[in-house]
Assembly symmetry: none
Homo-oligomer: 201 residues x 4
DNA sequence: TATGAATGAGAGTTCATTCAT
DNA sequence: CATGAATGAACTCTCATTCAT
């Protein structure tokens, strides 16, 4: 799987990156093949030597991003040793770093409409999203079972934590006062207390 | 202002609603004037009897939605009597209901790229978003001052709560097991505990 | 049916005519929408106000031509009074005149590949071709029954006579020595002898 | 000349055949170099190792076909011994067999627009067509002179006989009831009567 | 208020072709 | 021989928009 991600030619890789940035900045529909070509310093026709069509570019953007993130978090799936709260902490840091580091390209993962994708490709992307959900929900679930977290709807928590992380890209600025770590720490604490057994009286 | 919202002809109103739905479903760029016309059962040229151009439609969609929401929450701005936690509760219910009730049209408010808007219109939309932020942040701030909430970055909380609310449109289904109230209650509790003074030791 | 053919706007009519000429001269594929537009003295986009796509133009060309010809020959279908040989004579004159008069547009009827047409439209064109075949074959058949013509495969004769008529467009020149009537007369005589009962010993 | 036809590498030969089939099926313009390459199981660029450009492929298709046919009929040119009617009979059989045997590729000879060819190549093809006409017209002419055929316009007969033969490709089906010989015989008889001195009274 | 016709611009895509490898 | 990458031109078609009616 790792290899699969690296098997692309550097040119194709670069094209994907450029397209991803544009998709994020202007949206998929508003980004034209000519736009992408201009950034790639080549002619539109040449892009078709690497991709069959525009949709395929979108798909590969999404797919690559998904796989990169999953690669980083998949070890949580079977981790029954580390304390769940610690796992949650790391998870948030990893995802947030991922989101904000690649900020210009990674929003796609969660927010891009998938309607444009072919049935087949849509399925693949959804599978990855499900994998993400499963991993985070797993952490929460194990925290509940170990009494570290309160009895709470694991799926709902998953969704809300993901919402907080993902939407940081909308307002985060690297030049702002808050570092990525600051924000991660904040979301972690905010979530953790929300999850803590000891509630306010 | 209230009047301003109602002064539109019913036809124009209907067009806005149709356009809004399409913008939500397919995105602004991917929605053509033809698309809008078809849903309105008229010809594209006719739309120009009501709007100067496509951007104006987008703007009026955003503007109307914003105003409608602000209308519902502006009383929190000066409310120094109701308990902050109670205000937060109500706020979440109101916004979430608004978002999910109008679900097909309201996502625009928070997620649409504003790049397409003219300088002037963009400012107006941003003003409304700021007003929203200010109102929610005000509630938080007063909660902190009254020691109901812990010392915490009010702006960050604001953003994260808004993130949770807004992104429900992505996964919420009216046919699902959770009612809008269930979800509101969840987000409220989740946030409140995250805000509680008494943390777990 | 006649009315149906005239119900088109004069502009659309003109476009069809122009397109037809181009299709004949350069072939369907080699004729671009730009080509058609240029001859119509309008911009390509405008053509789409009258036709959904290029294929529809081709179809309407074929369809109109077919109907025009069928209109002229359909009375032979039930004519059991006129002598078959006389019918054949008239038939050849009519079809040949049609072919060579509209020469620049009418070759399409018989020789254009129909692969480009949609299933539905292809069917319609084929129906018309069959109608043509049926009418001519009917004349032959009645000639055989009345002993005017020899016992001969009516279908084969039909095809071969049609071949002679249709392919005149390839070599006929209005400036040449032979008039349309000359050619018609020739084909008639040639066919008539081919059909005559009295063969050479 | 014979050698010239065989001097091609088998690959080039195969390419010509494939291209010919495609040209016939879809037409010259609608056939792309990609199409040809795909059938040849190679990449488009490779074709340029064998041909300078697309037009050259078309030309060589036409040229080869022409030569093959002329090869088979050129002996009629000087044949003053065999009876003209017998020559005509053989001629029809040869050409029809050629046309229907190679059916998928041979229509090109007579019906392809030559506009796409360069001045030079066009001339060559036309020369071959003229040679064909000359040979057939020669047979007719000699038949008239020998009083086997009636006084008739030899050129017109030539064209019409050729029309009948060539257009069989449009409706002939190898699975049909009529064999190639049946059809040849029919056209021969039909023509012969058309040419016969003894007309019906 | 509604629309048919018109248009310049640009969409995604394919074209035939070249060239270095 | 074969091909991946590159390109300028052209493709069909849609875009938002205008305007006379």
């Amino acid at each position: 799987m790792t290899t699969e991600l690296k098997n692309k030619s550097p040119q194709k890789e670069k094209m994907l990156e450029n397209a991803s940035t544009l998709f994020w900045k202007k949206g998929y529909s508003a980004t034209s093949m000519r736009d992408i070509a201009k950034v790639c310093k080549c002619k539109p026709a040449n892009i078709y030597n690497f991709f069959h069509n525009k949709e395929e570019i979108l798909f590969e953007c999404l797919y690559t991003q998904n796989k990169r993130l999953l690669e980083k978090i998949k070890h949580f799936e079977d981790d029954r040793i580390t304390k769940p709260s610690e796992q949650l902490r790391e998870f948030i840091i990893i995802h947030l770093s991922h989101v904000l580091r690649y900020s210009k390209t990674s929003r796609l993962l969660f927010d891009t409409g998938l309607e444009r994708l072919s049935r087949n490709n849509r399925r693949k992307v959804i599978n990855d999203r499900d994998a993400y959900d499963r991993i985070l929900a797993g952490i929460i679930q194990r925290g509940i079972e170990s009494k570290d977290f309160s009895e709470i709807d694991a799926k709902l928590v998953t969704r809300n934590i993901a919402s907080m992380i993902v939407r940081t890209v909308i307002w985060y600025s690297p030049k702002g006062q808050l570092s990525i770590n600051d924000i991660a720490e904040f979301i972690y604490n905010f979530s953790l207390n929300g999850l803590s057994k000891e509630r306010k009286k």
